[in-house]
């Protein structure tokens, strides 16, 4: 704030303070509709709201955007379960949670006719079973990425296998990030030989977690709380290879002046996708659909790519993103991508006696965190 805007100390006497306080309280008590147009309640990761804030979208549509940022996707489920349905208008959430929300009636099917530009979304992301149930689309793809192996090309040769991070010369220099689905789906095929790492028996799950504990104790520098922290470890030269990574880290590191590279090892990598969905009983459905269309538009997606280095889902946005983004995400070669990368179905929600449920997976993962 410029110093010329600072009031002199004697400028605000008691009566003035009370008057100002009363005015502020009155302003706070005004109905939101009296202060702006339609209020849109949005919840998701910080930054995912940038496509809505860019340009004149909010002003042109007379929308007052109210955002709630999350620390984990599950917070959205908790919020909707705790009475958020009927209050929230638009959510941004990991695609794997869509069956949970749809099954619990917490989100409603998307009216595709109300989403201009949905035909521009890559079919590889729009047509997956997890977001389409009984012929109805429950969520619209928003962004995606792969959990690749990240390495420092100036320190080591290009790895080819996830097992390369377990070599003796990398002990204590391995990056490991707290990512329950990423870690288990990456390592379960290697440890147990399963083809579908989200369908694990209790024994396979235990075997995988035991192996992850071994990586944590014997190979990893530390367990980073998120991929941003993990990138900092590379920037400081504390790690050179990863047991789990995210391709966006290459761009994160470039911003810090550090060169990193990613590789999709021969055992394959997991693809993740974040989506947009409309909660059941959304009070401002019209505004929600307008925002949804804006978020997946070429302009909105370009903001996502430039501000967060995220991958776009709209084919019209590809020519608009920068070269670094195109190099990382290789939009023109999805056939090649999906040879080494896979969408895994979400964990079973209930214990079916054969495969571990999501709750059992989380319970075992706590053992990994405590170890």
């Amino acid at each position: 704030m410029p110093s010329s805007h600072v009031k002199p100390r004697h400028g605000l006497h008691r009566r003035g303070f009370l008057a100002a306080g009363t005015a502020a309280a009155a302003a706070l008590m005004l109905p939101r509709s009296a202060m702006a147009g339609t209020q849109l309640s949005w919840i998701g990761w910080q930054g995912y709201d940038e496509p809505l804030k860019a340009g004149d979208f909010l002003k042109d549509n007379d929308i007052d955007l109210s955002t709630t940022y999350i620390g984990s996707n599950e917070e959205i489920i908790t919020k909707l379960q705790a009475g958020g349905a009927g209050q929230l208008d638009l959510i941004s959430i990991y695609f794997g949670h869509i069956p949970i929300l749809a099954g619990a009636g917490l989100i409603e099917p998307i009216d595709e006719a109300r989403v201009p530009g949905i035909d521009k979304i890559f079919p590889d992301f729009l047509d997956i079973d997890t977001i389409r149930m009984d012929g109805k689309l429950y969520a619209v793809p928003f962004t995606w990425g792969t959990l690749s192996m990240i390495y420092d090309p100036n320190a080591i040769a290009k790895p080819v296998s996830w097992n390369d991070c377990l070599k003796d010369e990398y002990k204590g220099k391995v990056s490991l990030t707290d990512d329950i689905t990423g870690l288990i789906t990456t390592w379960a095929p290697i440890v147990t030989g399963t083809k579908t790492p989200t369908r694990l028996t209790a024994a396979q799950l235990k075997e995988t977690i035991d192996f992850l504990i071994k990586i944590k104790r014997e190979h990893a520098r530390t367990l980073s709380p998120n991929y941003g922290e993990a990138t900092d470890l590379y920037a400081r030269g504390e790690v050179v290879i990863s047991a789990i990574g995210w391709d966006a880290q290459v761009a994160f590191a470039a911003d810090k002046g550090k060169e990193l590279a990613f590789v999709r090892p021969q055992e394959g990598v997991m693809v993740f996708m974040d989506t947009l969905a409309v909660p059941s009983g959304a009070p401002n459905r019209d505004a929600a659909y307008k925002a949804l269309a804006q978020a997946i538009s070429a302009a909105g997606q370009t903001v996502l790519a430039s501000d967060l280095t995220q991958a776009v889902v709209n084919s019209d946005a590809v020519p608009l993103v920068d070269d670094v983004n195109r190099d990382v995400y290789q939009y023109g070669d999805f056939e090649n991508l999906f040879r080494s990368a896979r969408f895994d179905p979400f964990w079973p929600l209930q214990d079916d006696g054969e495969y571990a449920s999501y709750d059992q997976v989380q319970e075992e993962y706590q053992r990994f965190l405590r170890a």
């Binding site: 204590g172 530390t222 504390e238």
Partner: protein
Amino acid sequence: MSDASAPQRSTGGALLAAPAFAILAVLFIVPMILLFVVSFWRVRNFALTPDMSLDAYTRVFVTYGDVLVSTMANGSVTALICVGLGFLFAYAARFRAGRWGDALILVAIITLFGGYLVKIYAWKAILSTDGFLNAILVATGVSAEPLDTLLYNRGAVIVALVHFLLPFAILPIYGQLRSVNDIQIEAAHDLGASGRQTLIRVIIPQCRIGLFAAFAISFLYAAGDYITPRFLGGGSGTMIGQFIAQEFSTRFNWPAGAAMSFVLMAASLLVLGLVGILFVRRKPS
């Protein structure tokens, strides 16, 4: 004033206290009661179901017993260090710094500026392999190469917590030391007491409440913290606050999170009770 005015005075006092009590009830007591009730519920299909189950409490001890113990230990060590350093600082400010005493306290308070996360990242910068401390160790020949054992462990968590909590420990101790009568100290010296005897038999007994308050503030904050261990503890410095946060958010298991919170609260009260007996059992003579 006549006796008849006593009930009127009492009613007036109650009315004056009513807004404060209402705020306390709405913001603290009611949520606590609700959370306590939820701790006996179950979660079915990601929805809370009323029940009278002790499963969540059983799970706390079976699954998180070891983490609870290490959390109590971390909190106690942090609080003891804060009390020790806090007393030294407050003693210096009260009895050794002369007219600069208040300035020293102001400096301690100023260290609170800048926020909590800034301190965490500052300690990461100090303790990392390319950090300030390693640079000094290598430059002075103490270590041939940077040590990677300074960060991502229990010690790093405690150091950062002590840094953050020390001002909170200094203030109550200094407040109590300010009330120590100089005449009593001079009398002790006149009667032949050494400096050490004066400290132990005159000064410390008069600031027991301040020492206990410093311990309680530092301990409760450290035992409930989940940010510092997440960023500085790595795999070995985990504390129960991290798991409480996960039960509420990631696992949407509110009964488990609530039960863990109440067990943590009970364990903390137990520790404070034991420490309280040691600190304030005897009244100063």
